[in-house]
Assembly symmetry: C2
Homo-oligomer: 357 residues x 2
């Protein structure tokens, strides 16, 4: 490969992911050529600013991004390595080992292939969302293999950075095990819960709340796509499924012995521990606030004023709990607020005559 700036890209597949990449790379100065077996799809992507539908001169192409459904990836990667002799080829499929295994069995220049996987968009669809900042601050895994040329890896990483994603280099098998754990297993568990609803009497669903909706949401994703994903990662997925099968067996034993052992409690607590590990809104947030503690006044009428004053402080109260002094039989309101707002709230409450401890 001769040395020149990476600049000419072919994107194969103009769905949400392919079109979004095209928009980002075009904005970053790449010359992007769009291909789709349905020309009207490529035309819509071009209309959104993702690139041109004019074909490039094959030898000029530096990078090919294969953004098609999982079952079609391997063949299109092989095809691309063959017809674009100077191009690095990557794909954006959510399972990496199968593609690589398929390539080892073909007579292709493996050094020019580097897999990748952007963590974005699987539950969106349609090109209308494509031009938004889909990859900004999302993890984008790059999975070099032992034959990958350093220059090829660098080309893919540069494209990832141009999409403003967070690049993460991983081994192919580590990647596939990771998505089995944090994506494919949760998907199948959601499918199990949602599927179970098919045998539930209609009236029972009047008792359903937001929790059921949350647990089952991802089970609504395209079965055809997921059949391909799971089929491509079946070994890693099976390992997780069998582990959960063991855990389910233990859980059933715990519920059977609910009154006789603390096992159920520890399994429930294990779930809370798992959530804390995810971080973000419902993990780290648990410890992110500062508490402002106000004495609860003796007269009930005063409490309404207290809440009004808290409101008027213009500070967003994330949680409230009541703390109790069993000896003096008085209580305290603990107001949880973002650390940067705590001082302002204390000041407001003091200025209105409340006792803040």
């Amino acid at each position: 490969m001769e040395q020149r700036p990476v600049s000419r890209v072919v994107i194969i597949g103009t769905g949400l992911i392919g079109t979004s990449i095209g928009c980002d790379l075009s904005a970053a100065g790449y010359a992007v050529h769009l291909r789709d077996h349905k020309i009207s799809h490529a035309r819509v992507a071009a209309g959104l600013g993702a690139g041109t539908i004019e074909p490039p001169i094959s030898a000029d192409v530096d990078l090919v991004v294969v953004a098609v459904p999982p079952g079609a990836i391997a063949d299109l990667v092989v095809h691309s390595l063959q017809i674009y002799p100077n191009a690095t080829v990557t794909d954006v499929g959510s399972v990496k080992a199968g593609v690589l295994d398929a390539l080892w069995q073909r007579d292709v220049d493996l050094g020019r292939y580097v897999g990748s996987h952007p963590m974005a968009g699987s539950h969106h669809s349609g090109p209308m969302t494509a031009h938004r900042e889909l990859f900004v601050d999302r993890t984008w895994v790059v999975t070099p293999h032992r034959r990958s040329a350093a220059e090829s890896v660098e080309r893919v990483r540069a494209a990832v950075r141009a999409c403003r994603a967070r690049e993460l280099i991983m081994d192919v098998d580590d990647h596939d095990a990771a998505v089995a754990r944090v994506s494919h297993l949760p998907h199948l568990m959601s499918v199990l819960v949602a599927g179970h609803l098919t045998q539930v009497p209609e009236r029972d669903l009047m008792l359903a709340g937001q929790g059921l909706r949350d647990v089952t949401r991802i089970a609504g994703s395209d079965p055809e796509l997921w059949e391909q994903i799971l089929g491509a990662n079946s070994n890693a997925v099976l390992e997780e499924l069998r582990d959960v099968q063991d855990q389910l067996g233990l859980l059933i034993k715990s519920v059977e012995a609910a009154h006789a052992s603390g096992d159920l409690r520890s399994q429930l607590e294990r779930g809370v521990a798992g959530i804390r590990k995810i971080g973000g809104k419902h993990g780290a947030a648990l410890v992110r606030y500062r508490q402002v503690v106000v004495a609860i006044p003796d007269s009930p009428g005063a409490l309404a004023r207290l809440f009004a004053d808290v409101s008027a402080a213009g500070v967003n109260v994330e949680d409230i709990s009541i703390e109790h002094d069993p000896v003096r039989e008085i209580g305290y309101l603990a107001l949880s607020v973002a650390p940067e707002h705590a001082d302002a709230l204390v000041e407001t409450m003091l200025s209105h005559g409340w006792t803040v401890s």
Copy 2:
């Protein structure tokens, strides 16, 4: 019991549920007395307008609402039947058979007990949200038993209506089976997925998306409370767990045979079917829109205008798909919009010169 309008209520337990009921019943003209073993909690509830902390004359009480954690319900129902001789007693626990079984073994006037269960609030906490319209249009199950007096059932139903909830009369065992299916089983599956994360390498979680957060959210709920709920409903829960255990076994077989059978696909489709049954945002919505189909113009530049005109129409586009005419090699944009906006969108697009079919 003498006939007079139900008007005097005692609420035992001033957490989110008890306080919210107090606010609603007070607003509806009931005289509400609040009790809590922590007086400062009752005082906060009173300050929010849920009632008074002054004790009533026992014989004057028409209705007692026991709103305490599951493990304390049966004893407080018995206690209330004993000290309020003219009162109907209800509870708001999420499992009904255990309380009733406990009452059958005591020397109490069972005719004055009618269980109930409002579908609200389990993942909120703190009294601050209590005064909001917590029960409006939420299902509130009332579970009479064969000894319940008609007047007692009517008193509970009147209180449910005063909270502006949707009342639903159910048999006790039917209720417990229903919550096992739509609430307790999904909770435990969420716990399994979240618990599994405890054994996942830290780095894998960088690949986690919103789907994992959704599936695991409810697993973060209070383990102590859930231990009590599941313990109280263990028989019904075990039946659902064992069914899901069977389904998981089938799923594992399907993934093992992914390339050889269509079983995996049908299990994924069963999940989609289950979700459709829930209705609401991610169920019924799938069929609730009308499609406006616009021909995709030949020149790529025109597409940007098309999207701009769609935007300018001020109509919220719920989904977009591209339809393809393989013979003429042209395409159509199918815009999904709420039925009541479809005509306005068609008119706007026509007036801008687009071809709408």
